[in-house]
């Protein structure tokens, strides 16, 4: 390589000292950058990745931060993180409570992604897992209070599959039913329509990253009733079935309330 002519001959020692100085500075810079990345790669729980996004660690190593997915989103759902806006700088995200995903059937955001950070093997938007809805506000959800709000259930694009209304007894009044919005995590795409439509000041149902939302059984756990069904007989042969004291299977269980002719419960009088 051609060096500029210099009136002074740089001595070997000066050269090594200068190189060591620059190397140390670069090492300091690299360490600071690494520490900053450790801080800045956090994804706030209120922000969701576009459909088909790889697992967060892979996503951050693959996403070019180019914004093609954002520009092809017809509903302006997706945004790029600007300095100070929460998710990792430059990466695409959306906030369900602001603009949820409309679940376009042609998934234009995934089609636009040049790098594979949004996985093109996702062909059916109802199979996407942007997050999982969780009804976190058991004390504020209007249905939990005994009303028939049902908005999240009705706004769910997979109504009746991803969210169902499960009837249970209203113990407070003792004579009414409660219809509890219940998320079925295997069907929920995390589109966020439920969170957006919740009429409370702060949504009682929220879409969370699956990692935060879901419990995971220990891999060694076996469910006895499933194992028994698989086997087709008792798991342990030859056990003696002793009679249960105070209970015989033929009798109705005492706390079960009586139904009237319309299928409802008998009026309760304390």
């Amino acid at each position: 390589m051609v060096e500029p002519s210099s009136p002074l001959e740089t001595s070997r020692r000066d050269f090594l000292a200068a190189t060591a100085r620059t190397a140390c500075a670069a090492g300091f810079f690299g360490t600071a950058l690494g520490l900053w990345i450790g801080q800045a790669r956090a994804l706030p729980a209120s922000t969701l990745r576009p459909p088909g996004a790889l697992a967060e660690d892979d996503f951050l190593g693959t996403c070019a931060r180019c914004g093609l997915c954002v520009q092809d989103c017809p509903y302006k759902t997706l945004k790029l993180a600007e300095p100070g806006s929460g998710p990792t700088l430059g990466t695409p995200y959306f906030e369900a409570r602001k603009i949820p995903c409309e679940m376009c059937s042609d998934i234009p955001c995934v089609a636009a992604c040049p790098t594979g950070a949004l996985d093109k093997s996702l062909k059916d938007i109802s199979k996407s897992k942007m997050g999982v809805a969780v009804l976190v506000g058991h004390e504020t959800c209007l249905n939990f209070l005994g009303l028939r709000c049902d908005i999240c259930y009705r706004d769910c694009p997979l109504m009746g599959t991803a969210i169902t209304l499960e009837r249970s007894h209203n113990l407070r009044t003792g004579k009414h039913a409660m219809f509890i919005p219940t998320v079925h995590t295997e069907a929920c795409t995390g589109c966020g329509k439920c969170e957006k439509s919740c009429p409370l000041e702060e949504a009682a149902i929220k879409v969370l990253p699956p990692k935060l939302a879901l419990g995971v059984l220990g891999s060694h756990y076996r469910l006895g009733w499933e194992e028994k069904e698989k086997k087709g007989s008792a798991l342990i042969e030859g056990t003696i079935d002793l009679p249960d004291r105070g209970y015989s299977p033929g009798e109705p269980v005492p706390p079960s309330p009586e139904r009237n002719s319309q299928g409802g419960f008998k009026e309760f009088r304390p």
Binding site: M1, S5, T62, E82, P114, T115
Partner: protein, 307 residues
């Protein structure tokens, strides 16, 4: 005494256009490349989608920042063919025309740091802190190492080039926000802390493009160097003045007249400001030609300077 600003003498001798043409063309190119990205968001006419990180022009031409692709691959992630093709096209283009033409003809940060350099020369400010020109290579090395160690695209966590470009394309720059603070910080750094500090010494993107363009075909040549009267205007105007000396003053050592350093951004400002019209753009193969000629007969400065 009134200071001598580079370009004044050339303007007096050759007129405004001859003393500014490459600067004007370069600004037009910067506006043009920004315009490709901005017509879509601003007036709904989509020419180029995406940003400098990765883009799609007229729904057919994919281009990708090869430094992003390199970091991602080092971070052990596999990329789709489209993005690798885009990175390959960008690599090939800059390898031909000079990698750092990205810096001076395309990169939006150049407008900020050129602005700082312009004001700096008008205010006649001292050099300030000087970093080694090799700092950027070390920073590039650190960025690649951190990418490999953290499994992320490390430079994208701080890259002012893409932050500024995203700010322009996605609108964060049109309101009050942190992007403005970053732009101001870059400007003030180059103005008050270090002359040509960012683009000339620290930016690893520039370092990377400099490496790509080391063997590029398009060069600036000090073809008329025998006419040099040591006014230093080219050195003052040049963002990378260390690249000039071997070409302009290296005749006695058998160097030049082509500027061969990958650091040269092909901005053409030296061509503009030289009152003696020493410089011009030249294809790389002219080097051998001029050497051959000078060794045989009486070709310009080489023989004169040697005499």
């Amino acid at each position: 005494m009134k200071q001598r600003l580079p370009g004044q003498a050339a303007r007096a001798r050759h007129g405004w256009w001859k003393a500014s043409q490459w600067l004007v063309l370069r600004r037009l190119a910067q506006v043009f490349f920004l315009g490709l990205f901005l017509t879509g968001p601003l007036i709904g006419v989509w020419i180029t989608k995406g940003t400098l990180a990765s883009s799609l022009t007229l729904s057919i031409l994919p281009l990708t920042d090869p430094l992003f692709a390199l970091q991602s691959l080092l971070a052990h992630h596999s990329l789709e063919g489209k993005v690798l093709l885009g990175a390959g096209l960008v690599l090939a283009a800059y390898a031909l025309i000079g990698g750092r033409m990205f810096c001076s003809w395309v990169c939006p940060v150049n407008l900020v740091t050129d602005g700082a350099a312009w004001l700096r020369s008008r205010l006649n400010l001292p050099e300030g802190v000087t970093f080694s020109r090799s700092s950027r290579l070390w920073i590039l090395g650190a960025v690649l190492a951190v990418s490999a160690l953290t499994g992320t695209v490390a430079w994208e966590f701080v890259n002012p080039v893409t932050i500024l470009h995203r700010g322009l394309v996605f609108g964060a720059l049109y309101g009050a926000g942190l992007v403005w603070i970053l732009v101001a910080a870059l400007f003030l750094f180059d103005l008050a802390v270090s002359s040509r500090g960012w683009c000339g010494h620290l930016c690893p993107v520039g370092a990377f493009y400099g490496l790509i363009g080391r063997k590029s075909l398009l060069r600036v040549s000090a073809i008329g160097r025998q006419a040099c009267d040591d006014c230093l205007d080219c050195y003052k105007a040049c963002p990378e003045p260390q690249v000039i000396s071997p070409a302009l003053k290296g005749a006695a050592r058998g160097l030049g007249p082509l500027i061969l350093s990958g650091d040269c951004t092909n901005c053409g400002r030296c061509i503009d400001v030289c009152p003696e019209r020493v410089f011009e753009f030249s294809p790389r193969w002219m080097e051998r030609k001029s050497k051959d000629v000078s060794s045989q007969t009486t070709r310009d400065g080489t023989t004169k300077a040697a005499a």
